[in-house]
């Protein structure tokens, strides 16, 4: 693994008496695509919210590119981009207005904002609909806007919380290609998904979480190899073996 870009140490977070995250530690290397997998309620989103300075951990430390999320949240915020699990958009505004607003918010001037907005919309093949109201968009288009916003300001580290949920294969492939392209350009990515074949195809390493803890962490191939022939087993087999078959939540 390349030099560590993100270091999470012993993270804990409880809501009321419920331990959502219970002692999570991992590192993400520079320019790595890191998958965070786990059943519903495993604590993936809560972990991401702590890493992205939205929530403060009860216990534990996070450093990103050497900056502590507790002591230097502003430094951290200036190098990360977040694509939340839920669509986080202003539906009353146009796609371009959304990108412009968040672009300005991360500190870009108006010229940079304009250039990046158009570039990101083009990347998501939405340039034709730039001036369309988001409320009129299809689910897949909204997902793509959601991701395009996260790219404003060229973050060094991108958090993608289930960016492909509920969309057609075309939109999903578009998002895949984009993520791979971004990595080629030097971005580091933390990716969560419930689609195991996605994680297998995209991620350099994955961590599997369950009940607020990490139960396994390695390359997809190494994890599969522990079960049997890595070319015949799937990541889904590994996932079910590790997290059991009972329903969550």
């Amino acid at each position: 693994m390349a030099e560590a870009f993100l270091v999470a140490k012993d993270l804990h977070k409880s809501f009321n008496d419920h331990k959502a995250v219970n002692g999570v530690s991992f590192t993400i290397g520079k320019n790595e695509i890191f998958g965070l997998l786990g059943p519903n309620g495993a604590g993936k989103t809560t972990t991401i919210r702590m890493l992205s300075t939205v929530l403060e951990p009860d216990v534990g430390e996070v450093t990103i590119s050497g900056f502590s999320t507790r002591q230097q949240p502003d430094k951290v915020r200036s190098i990360i981009g977040v694509c939340p699990q839920e669509l986080a958009l202003y539906e009353e505004l146009t796609a371009l207005d959304n990108l412009t607003f968040f672009g300005r918010l991360v500190g870009l001037n108006s010229r940079e904002t304009r250039a990046q907005s158009m570039a990101n919309l083009a990347l998501m093949e939405l340039e034709q609909r730039a001036k369309g109201k988001v409320s009129k968009f299809s689910g897949g288009m909204k997902r793509r806007v959601n991701l395009a916003i996260a790219l404003m300001g060229h973050p060094k580290l991108l958090f993608l919380d289930e960016p492909t949920v509920g969309i057609d294969p075309q939109s999903r492939n578009k998002i895949f290609e984009t993520i791979q392209g971004l990595r080629t350009n030097g971005m580091t990515v933390l990716y969560t998904t419930h689609y195991m074949e996605e994680a297998d195809r995209l991620c350099d390493r994955v961590a599997i979480m369950d009940g607020g803890k990490i139960v396994a962490i390695d390359t997809p191939r190494a994890l599969k190899a522990k079960l049997g022939d890595p070319d015949k087993t799937t990541l889904e087999d590994v996932f079910l073996k590790l997290t059991g078959r009972s329903l969550r939540d």
Binding site: T53, R77, V82, K133
Partner: protein, 415 residues
């Protein structure tokens, strides 16, 4: 510095959404405008009996409907008792005939309640008043539309009250759901019981009151400031929906992981609310001075300062409310309810100085009362700047308290 920039950006975004939202625009800018325009139109008849405005109402409901009560309350029974300038309200019993009369130009126009009016009001869904007019008389048209809006918004707010009342009735086992006829009865009883005075008081009329030694006054001098206070406060209390909306939209999370601090987010909501308030103030005083020939007294600066302080206080109230409510629905109904209780209590609908002493004392708990008293002193009693300093300080105190509560509450919220 950076957070100031963020406040600026958030404000711009809110205002952009505001201008894209036609309902919000209508309610906070156009509706007050219509309101004062109607008032102007009604007042232009002052002195000349033959120019009395006639407003016609009709309903398509059967006689058990609520609209019957509304029209009965509004109808002018004794024309000779009308004061100069007060419109004569006529009940047209035959809808089809009335419609034909408008076509034949025997009638300038009328407002009709739809067949499902009572049902719509009681069940809480929307309905539309019909405004039927002959476009040959633009002035009457404007007045009719203004009045239709007035009734419609009155019903809208009444729905909020109705829902609350139904809740109370069910809770106290006074009302068993399922008996629609009795329901209307109980609600009406409860509403009139609570309001104290009969539906007569909801009638749109503007009268001049002579109190003590005061000369006959231009009614605009208390009507305009009163409605200004009410509308600014009501619009500001809609700001309560803003943060709730960001939370439900999940954009709050995005703002926080971007670079906006919690105080910048509050600041943005505050700033955009304040800008809306300034627009309203400009419209009200603009119309007041240009159309109603209002005289701002000997201390016009004090009038503007009280307007601005009132706007700052109302915005702080809206932001404070936003940190307490969790759903958009509760945000809007609490905001409307609070505004509608405080407006009459605080002297927005009639001047406080004509109310009994005990009411004037109770009124002091509302910021409205301080603003209205300040305006009354300046515009009616000819007071100077120094005389309204207590009112200014009171408004500042309200603003500081509301603001402080908002900041404390928003800071300590985990999510």
């Amino acid at each position: 510095m950076k957070q100031l920039r963020n406040i600026w950006l958030l404000m711009g975004k809110d205002l952009k959404i505001f201008t894209a939202d036609r309902a919000a625009l209508f309610f906070s800018i156009l509706f007050p405008f219509l309101f004062v325009t109607l008032f102007n139109f009604v007042m232009t008849g002052v002195g000349s009996e033959d120019s009395r405005l006639q407003l016609n109402l009709a309903t398509r409901e059967p006689p058990t409907g609520i609209s019957y009560q509304i029209i009965a309350a509004l109808e002018t029974v004794d024309e000779s008792a009308l004061k100069p300038g007060e419109p004569q309200i006529v009940w047209l019993k035959d809808y089809e005939q009335a419609k034909k009369d408008v076509e034949d130009r025997k009638l300038t126009g009328f407002i009709a309640f739809p067949e499902n009016f009572s049902e719509a009001v009681l069940m809480g869904y929307g309905t539309e008043l019909e405004v039927i007019y002959n476009p040959s008389n633009p002035q009457a048209t404007a007045a009719l539309e203004g009045m239709a809006q007035g009734i419609a918004s009155g019903v809208g707010t009444q729905q909020v009250v109705n829902n609350t009342v139904i809740g109370l009735l069910v809770e106290k086992e006074l009302y068993q759901p399922g008996t629609a006829g009795d329901l209307a009865q109980s609600i009406r009883a409860m509403l009139t019981g609570q309001a104290g005075n009969a539906p007569e008081s909801s009638r749109i009329s503007f009268t001049t009151e002579k109190v003590g030694e005061v000369e006959a006054i231009n009614p605009a001098n208390f009507v305009i400031p009163g409605y200004l206070v009410m509308f600014v406060f009501m619009t500001a209390s809609f700001a309560a929906q803003q943060i709730t909306k960001e939370r439900l939209n999940h954009t709050l999370e995005r703002l926080l992981s971007g670079s906006a601090s919690r105080s910048a987010i509050l600041g943005g909501v505050y700033a955009s609310t304040a800008v809306k308030g300034v627009i309203q103030i400009a419209i009200f005083w603009g119309i007041g001075i240009l159309v109603f020939k209002m005289d701002l007294g000997i201390a016009p600066a004090a009038v503007f300062i009280i307007s601005l302080l009132m706007m700052l206080m109302a915005s702080a109230f809206g932001v404070m409310l936003s940190t307490f409510v969790k759903t958009e629905r509760s945000a809007s109904s609490i905001g409307v309810l609070a505004s509608l209780i405080m407006a009459p209590l605080g002297g927005c609908w009639w001047p406080l100085f004509i109310t009994p002493k005990w009411m004037q004392s109770i009124a002091k708990i509302t910021p409205h009362a301080w603003a209205n008293t300040g305006f009354n002193k300046l515009l009616i009693f000819g007071a100077d700047f120094n005389a309204v300093i207590p009112e200014m300080l009171a408004l500042i105190a309200f603003a500081v308290v509301f603001g402080a509560i908002a900041i404390l509450k928003f800071r300590t919220d985990a999510d």
